[in-house]
Amino acid sequence: MLKSPADRAAMATPVRVARRIKGLSDRAIAWIFVTPTIIILLSINIFPLIWTIWLSFTNFRVNRPNNEVDFIGLRNYERILTDPDTWLTMQSTAHFLFWTIFFQVLIGFALAYLINKKFKGNDMWTTIIVLPMMLSPAVVGNFWKFLYQPQIGFFNYVVSFFTGVEPTSFSMIGDVSLAPWSIVIVDTWMWTPFVMLICLAGLRSIPDSIYEAAECDRAGKWRQFWTITIPMVLPFLMLAILFRGIENFKMFDLVVQLTGGGPGSTTELTSINLKREAFEKWRTGYASAYAVILFVTVFGLASIYVKALNRVKAR
């Protein structure tokens, strides 16, 4: 007679082990399985978080291991929140976040809508469109730096071709008013395909029968778009916004390669600022406080957003 897999597993368990676990409750066995995961989580997630919070109240510097560490209360937090430079980097980050998400959603959705239509070469175009997001951000930053070069850069020549402006008369990454847009353009170029793919998944999840029913009810294309397409793609769009929002809040590599935070501090995003405090100035306590502030900000905003997302999904 064939035995079930559970019986075979029981038979394969050595007698000594079987005897030992025979007296264990289901709860104890569950704990045995869960404990390693809890230990790993505690050691690589929770402990560093608690340690960071503790360090944020001290003047600890990791490059001065022999120095005495003093508890300085909320001084690091006070210094960060009253430093005008912090608010400037926050502003730069907000500008970057808002406009990248705005353009990526707009263009990403439009592309997804087009790609969703059946036409010849559909697959080839999809592949071409998603190519930028397969590249390394550092590589993208470097080659866009060349594209933006006023003397040899393709970008300046394209702008010149359409506007008649002399290509050497403007510098995308050297001009205070243009530099914030230069990083928005590159990030949009790179990550719009990601938003497009998510929107495409949303569009393809809408059953044709809904559109057919709408057509039976004589609903026009415009009405179908606003009352069927948009509401049904909205949860996907919101998910894309969440992913891009979190990613761009911690944007580092692309911007460092492209502008280095300059000109001046015009494109110095919070993550670049934080890295400079932590690993160039080595003000570990100060940087820990900065990290805690950023964590609370992202966590708070993400929690509110996820609640809104769940509400939309429930509708």
Binding site: Y148, Q151, G174, S265, F279, R283
Partner: protein, 438 residues
């Protein structure tokens, strides 16, 4: 006979065992640039002589400080020997990351009096001007200028320049004259190509713009601190002269640099110069052998001059590095062997011949030195006028605000020179207060 044979075998075995036991794999860390390649070739002599094997870890300049300071701070074992930047000496010495070399120098008869004094102060000593040595001067370097001699000698340009400025087109005697030359070449058509005045340091991410702007600041009256009261910086860093110097650097950036040169450092300046974009370039002396060897701009087409004087004197930003033994290395003895070998006059002479800038006085004071290369005299003149940035343990905390403040004013055009330097005083004061030095 039998006993003699046994003894010979024992001796041979001992010798073989001994050499095998002492032969180490050493790793030398430095920046990835031309002199590093020359050092690889030079070090083959050490391998042949000592039996040790040399490995090299070269990091590109923009990431060099980040990578190596992380290595030192984490007590990493990657580097046995490190040719670290001059400004790291304070931190590395105080944090015990470099081995103190005094007793080793004494034992091996290596005297710091044999090296160019500015390089000993700049690369080896901590605290400065005290006989505590943590490095052997390895590579003398200084910011200077390269210019297109072939363009400067064109009769039509000479005539036009003379008519416009009332003097000959030649090596500038002052920073103001340098700016005139920059303006003269800016946007000019030479051989059918638009060229520009000068490539200067403007890089934001690491240390670029600071290494550039100090060449103007020093010469207009900037000082790091009150000479009579350490860490008293207000009125020195932001003196009227310093403000004028910063304004000069911005004027030079605005009037005379190629479009898009808002984030340029050593590599970008070399590229601009070698590709015939600029008439002059500011750069460290290490590039000069490469310029001479270049088919487009070498072989007599280029000339060299030290950083020109300003109203308050003539100074130039010190570059260069010393070679140190990393304290966490397990192969300290072999690493010290390398330093002993590197300090010998013969190796130092070979170092200069290979394209490295020796800091040994015997090499640079040799009567044949000045004429040995077209740039040798300029190197000597420049090394005589050097000043260096802070070498405090908190060097990075002092460098970063300077990068931000100066870039904000010079490149981004935000605020005034006075606001930039007043802000810098505030930032630096904060660092010194944190350090308990004020």
């Amino acid at each position: 006979m039998k006993s003699q044979l046994l003894m010979a075998n024992t001796l041979l075995a001992a010798t073989l065992y001994g050499s095998a036991a002492q032969a180490d794999d050493l790793t030398l860390c430095w920046a990835a640039w031309d002199p590093a390649n020359a050092l690889v070739e030079l070090s083959k002599g050490f391998e042949a002589q000592s039996g040790h094997k040399m490995n090299f870890e070269f990091v590109p300049w923009p990431n060099f400080a980040d990578r190596m300071l992380n290595e030192l701070n984490s007590g990493g074992k990657l580097c046995d020997l490190l040719i670290g930047d001059s400004q790291w000496i304070g931190g590395a010495a105080e944090n015990g990351q470099y081995l103190k070399l005094n007793s080793f120098f004494e034992k091996e008869g290596i005297s710091m009096d044999d090296f160019i004094p500015a390089t000993v102060t700049g690369y080896s000593e901590w605290p400065k001007n005290t006989p505590n040595y943590y490095a052997l001067p390895a590579f003398g370097d200084v910011v200077g200028w390269t210019y297109r001699k072939d363009w400067f000698e064109r009769p039509e340009l000479k005539k036009e320049f003379k008519a416009k400025y009332g003097r000959d087109l030649g090596v500038p005697a002052s920073l103001a004259e340098l700016k005139d030359i920059g303006e003269f070449f800016q946007g000019r058509d030479i051989d059918g190509k638009t060229v520009y005045g000068a490539a200067i340091y403007t890089e934001r991410g690491s240390e670029g713009i600071t290494m550039g702007v100090t060449n103007a600041l020093y010469n207009y009256g900037f000082a790091y601190e009150n000479p009579n009261k350490p860490y008293d910086i207000d009125g020195f860093v932001n003196s009227d002269g310093a403000i004028e110097g910063l304004e000069f650097y911005k004027d030079l950036y605005d009037c005379c640099t190629p479009p898009g040169s808002s984030d340029w450092y050593m590599g970008a300046n070399i590229d601009a110069y070698k590709s015939g974009q600029v008439a002059m370039q500011m750069n460290f002396a290490f590039i000069w052998p490469g310029v001479e060897a270049d088919p487009n701009v070498g072989g007599g087409k280029s000339g060299y001059f030290p950083n020109p004087a300003g109203p308050a004197g003539q100074f130039a930003q010190l570059g260069g590095q010393g070679i140190s033994v990393v304290s966490s290395s397990k192969k300290r003895a072999a690493a010290l062997d390398y330093i002993k070998w590197f300090a010998t006059p013969k190796v130092q002479q070979d170092w200069w011949t290979a394209g490295g800038y020796s800091a040994l006085s015997a090499v640079v004071e040799d009567p044949s030195f000045a004429s040995s290369q077209p740039y040798a005299q300029t190197f000597l003149d420049s090394m005589a006028i050097v000043k260096d940035f802070w070498a405090e343990p908190s060097y990075a905390s002092l460098l970063l605000p300077m990068q931000a403040r100066v870039h904000n004013y010079v490149v981004a055009g935000q605020g005034t020179a006075k606001q930039a330097l007043d802000g810098l005083v505030k930032d630096w004061d904060e660092v010194f207060e944190d350090e308990g030095k004020k």
